[in-house]
């Protein structure tokens, strides 16, 4: 092509008017045309669904209302993190279920993370037996459906453990563990509970009334951890300046344990031991079979997936890093803790988020062992007693969506803190 043609093209742009066929054949408009067309189809689909729903509701003579949440629930819930009885509302029952879901999700996430990190690291161990044992754990647990594990743990708890009546009499068939502190029965595990002789009462925040004593415990623990961090930072500064790291371990222990111990002493903390009265044990904290089965089932099952995430994260770190650390004279344990794991976290965190989301969503299997989570209360008994399937299911999906988005949001913040800093 000669330069003169180019000049002519650039100076006199085509002055052709807009025609309809350009919507399809002109690259400038084609993508917009297609998008508008699919948006139209999507809205048509949505309109059909809404119309179908409205018509079907009318055909069944039902309206769309959340008023049922204010009516008395009428049913009892075994595990109640907050005050609840059968005269309270369906909304309150749903809140109890939601709290049970969250309690279980947090417990299972912690167990899965601890097991996963240990198993993931040990699976790479040079010790043949340890490595193979971890392989067996990972392969056995992640290749059997989680519902089966939950049922297996549930069955072990109900079938293999003694009934409370076995603890009765002068020569009981079963006895409590740890100096009469813990009772393992086929109705759950009873452990001692910490009680305060001088309790500080409760706060009232909307529908819940948490104990002031326990809120303060959380603040004291958080404060101690913060103070300990300051101490460690100080030790690092001294080490950088002088080359000698001051001894901090006894100060750390004092800072971490001291304030809490003093607080417990001031409030007259004591242990409330479980005791056999009537049909069941009373006193202490009752960890029900359903909770234990769900916790172990979800935690150990998901731990196998986390172990694989951890292993892949570690293997993603170049072998040179380990060799460099060894060349500096670091021991294998310190190499793992200080060099490998911090770098591996970048690879581990994103898939870990989805494992936490899986755990949270899998808590809805609770119904299988009678765990009263959100699915069993709002999505089960409430829907069944009120006949509000559409409202109940939508509310439940909205709540699970909100929990999941919160978890992934929080984990993304953590991920952006540990990921490779690019400046």
């Amino acid at each position: 092509m000669s330069t003169t043609t180019e000049q002519r093209v650039s100076t006199t742009p085509p002055k052709k008017g807009f025609t309809l066929s350009m919507l399809l054949y002109d690259q400038r408009y084609r993508s917009i045309t297609i998008q508008v067309f699919f948006l139209f189809l999507l809205m048509l689909g949505a309109a059909w669904l809404i119309d179908n729903t409205v018509n079907n509701l009318r055909a069944q003579g039902k309206d769309f209302s959340f008023a049922f949440l204010g009516n008395p629930a009428g049913y009892d819930i075994s595990q109640r993190p907050i005050e609840y009885n059968s005269q309270m509302t369906h909304g309150r029952a749903a809140l109890v279920g939601l709290l049970n879901t969250l309690i279980l999700a947090v417990m299972a996430c912690v167990l899965a993370t601890v097991l996963g990190v240990i198993a993931g690291v040990l699976r790479l161990s040079n010790n043949w037996i340890v490595g193979r044992l971890m392989t067996v754990y990972v392969e056995v647990f992640r290749n059997i459906p989680t519902l089966l594990w939950i049922l297996i743990f549930g069955a072990i708890m109900t079938e293999a453990m003694p009934a409370p009546s076995a603890f009765r009499g002068d020569d009981p068939a079963s006895s409590m563990l740890f100096n009469d502190a813990v009772a393992v029965t086929n109705r759950g595990v009873y452990v001692p509970a910490i009680m305060f002789a001088r309790d500080l009462g409760t706060l009232t925040i909307g529908p819940v009334s948490p104990s002031i004593s326990w809120i303060l415990v959380i603040f004291i623990v958080a404060g101690s951890i913060w103070a300990n961090k300051l101490l460690i930072n100080h030790a690092t500064r001294v080490q950088n300046a002088t080359g000698v790291r001051p001894k901090t371990w006894w100060k750390s222990i004092l800072i971490l344990v001291g304030p809490l111990a003093l607080y417990f002493f001031l409030l007259g903390a004591h242990l409330d031991y479980p005791e056999l009265t009537g049909f069941n044990f009373s006193g202490g904290t009752h960890l029900r079979n359903s909770l234990i089965a769900m916790w172990l089932g979800l935690g150990i099952y998901t731990g196998a997936f986390v172990a694989e995430n951890v292993r892949s994260g570690i293997l993603a770190i170049s072998r040179g890093q380990t060799e460099a650390a060894f060349a500096l004279g670091l021991q294998p344990g310190k190499t793992m803790r200080l060099i490998i794991l911090p770098q591996a976290l970048r690879v581990i965190i994103p898939p870990l988020i989805s494992q936490y989301l899986n755990i949270t969503k899998n808590t809805s299997l609770g119904l299988a062992v009678g765990y009263m989570d959100l699915r069993s209360t709002l999505g089960g008994i409430t829907i069944n007693q009120t006949g509000r399937e559409l409202e109940g299911m939508m509310l439940m999906m909205l709540i699970y969506l909100a929990i999941s988005l919160t978890i992934s949001g929080g984990m993304n913040v953590y991920n952006s803190r540990v990921k490779l800093k690019e400046r």
């Binding site: 003579g61 009428g74 119904l367 069993s376 007693q385 006949g387 939508m394």
Partner: protein, 339 residues
């Protein structure tokens, strides 16, 4: 992405909420050649598959009678096992044509859930079963007990009311099906199992040592159990309701599965003639032929025969007729006149 989640969620719920019932139920069954009947997941004597996989029981016989009346084949029934939680959704969505599943007739279910109870085929009440060895003789001694309940039933509401009214505490263990409840109860994971007394008797009959368990004397509720259909199909409702009444009236009038063919030829009793179709056109009014009641009764006998064969005193379940005797015998079974 959020929009697509919302739309997906909406799609799922609206599909669950109901399939458009353009076709009338009777036509749909005739087209299909099969009646879809919702039953329990297994309760001996009421609805449970036998060793050959054929469903048997008191509730099952009701489905078979309806199938015989419509399709002339008592075996043309597709039994859909439902749990306490899934039964109403199954009915509302059109997955089953009728429920014959120990379902209690209550105000909320009738009015708010828009179900139609066609009648009561078993008058029951909620009771408690405990192992004999714990030495409890009354429901008032159950303070602090662990109680197994089937979730999604009226029993869990009655239970909450009973313990609250008597100022007692209990620990509920919610369970999906009768089979799971049985396993939990026998393992000792709960002290007490509560459900309708008939269900307790049926469950106990399937234990290895039925005598080791007692049903406490307290009956804490009224549980009129009966078949249920969807609201809004008057003709179908009539077929199920009057098939039930035909079985009851047959017992009252002395019509049995043995003599029904013979009596159908015509008798001196106008009421029997109207019931069995040799007089009048009751079958036409229901959209069936005139022999509908003959086939329904021939399927597994009249109400009394069905009761005796499945749950009566000669069976392992051993329930007395009690409230469920004919009104002429001092019971509550009372069919309106065929007129």
């Amino acid at each position: 992405m959020k929009k697509s989640i919302f739309i997906g969620a909406f799609a799922a719920t609206s599909l669950v909420a109901g399939v458009a019932q353009a076709q009338q139920t009777l036509e749909a069954i005739l087209d299909r050649g099969e009646l879809n009947c919702g039953v329990s997941t297994g309760l001996a004597g009421f609805s449970a598959p036998d060793a050959n996989g054929v469903w048997q029981g008191f509730d099952v016989a009701k489905c078979r009678a309806v199938a015989a009346a419509i399709l002339d084949d008592p075996m043309a029934v597709n039994f859909v096992p439902t749990t306490g939680q899934t039964r109403f959704s199954a009915l509302a969505s059109g997955e089953v044509d009728m429920l014959a599943r120990n379902t209690t007739w209550t105000f909320t279910r009738d009015i708010d859930l828009r179900l139609t109870f066609v009648g009561t085929n078993y008058y029951d009440g909620q009771g408690f079963m405990v192992p004999r060895e714990i030495g409890v003789s009354s429901g008032m001694e159950l303070d602090g007990a662990t109680v197994c309940i089937q979730t999604g039933t009226t029993t869990e509401l009655n239970l909450a009311d009973f313990f609250r009214a008597n100022g007692m505490e209990y620990e509920p263990v919610p369970i999906e099906t009768n089979a799971e409840a049985q396993q939990q109860y026998l393992a000792g994971a709960c002290d007490v199992y509560t459900t309708d007394v008939s269900g307790l008797a049926a469950t106990r009959a399937s234990f290895g040592e039925p005598d080791d368990h007692v049903i406490l004397p307290e009956v804490i509720s009224k549980e009129p159990l009966g078949p249920v259909v969807r609201d809004g199909d008057k003709n179908w409702e009539g077929i199920v309701r009057w098939t039930l009444f035909a079985l009851m009236a047959a017992e009252e009038l002395g019509v049995t599965s043995a003599n029904v063919e013979e009596l159908a030829q015509g008798t001196d009793s106008p009421e029997i003639n109207r019931l069995l179709g040799s007089e009048g056109d009751f079958g036409d009014m229901l959209g069936l032929d005139s022999d509908w009641a003959v086939r329904a009764i021939a399927a597994s006998g009249n109400y009394g025969e069905i009761f005796a064969a499945n749950i009566g005193e000669q069976t392992p379940i051993g329930l007395a007729r009690g409230l469920n005797a004919q009104w002429t015998q001092g019971g509550l079974i009372y069919a309106p006149p065929f007129r």
